[in-house]
């Protein structure tokens, strides 16, 4: 067993070559599929939460295959906080704009009082805006949960 383990030095730079190469192949497709799930949320199974989880999982995959530092280079922490707050602001802002246009909170059909296209078209656009906001927030919160759990809250390269 010792003889087997001597072939694997943990600090060998080529140790994770297979994993890192296949992650580099897969991650663009994972991100494209996450955006697809968010955008097609009102026609097919999926939506903001599921697409956000897939998008966040692509960054988590980079963090697992390389290390925490690489993951934080690709998606810096300031951007992460800004994106979580941006998603919440989009969600609540859509609801408040609908309320200001004369309807209830998140009552998209009321927006046709301001810009005169049909209420059905406004409902489709409003649901899309809310799904995009949920997707942004879920992506960044998933990633920051992974960072905090894997480095015990220190964000100093735990893995």
């Amino acid at each position: 067993m010792k003889r087997l383990q001597e072939h694997f030095e943990v600090h060998d730079p080529n140790l994770n070559l297979i994993i890192q190469t296949s992650i580099r192949i897969l991650v663009p497709f994972v991100q494209l599929f996450g955006l697809y799930v968010i955008v097609h949320g009102h026609y097919s199974p999926g939506g903001g939460f599921q697409g956000g989880v897939i998008l966040g999982a692509s960054f988590i995959l980079m963090g697992v295959g390389y290390d925490l530092k690489k993951s934080m280079e690709l998606f810096p922490e300031a951007w992460n906080i800004a994106m979580a707050n941006l998603g919440t602001t989009i969600f609540v802002g859509t609801g408040l704009v609908c309320a200001a246009a004369g309807g209830l909170f998140l009552d998209y059909g009321a927006l046709s009082n301001w810009i005169g296209i049909e209420p059905a078209a406004w409902r489709s656009l409003g649901i899309f805006a809310v799904e995009a906001g949920v997707g942004f927030t879920v992506t960044s919160v998933m990633l920051s949960l992974f960072w905090d759990l894997s480095s015990r809250g220190e964000l100093d390269g735990g893995l």
């Binding site: 067993m1 383990q5 694997f8 297979i18 296949s22 192949i25 897969l26």
Partner: protein
Amino acid sequence: MIINGIIVFLLYLALVIFATGTAGILRFPDFYSRLHAAGKCDTMAAILALSSIALYHLSENPDLGGVLVALKILLILVFVFISSPTATHAISQAALIIGVEPWGREKK
């Protein structure tokens, strides 16, 4: 129909390979050989089953929509073919690094 024969043959082959992998997981002696059975048999059987599903959908809907769905199924096949052996490799490498003992004829 000969296309139905091909579909049934591919599904049957996938079933046999899945059964072989299950028997390997249940009967092999240690972690590495069980992982070997699980990884290889699941990848091959998933490829056969997905290609037979794509063929079936294409034979039922021989138009552009059917071709698109079959291409999506083939895309799933490519990703399974890339990611399943990589996951098996990662698990076995992690087990070797933390020192899981391989099965041998005699213990020293």
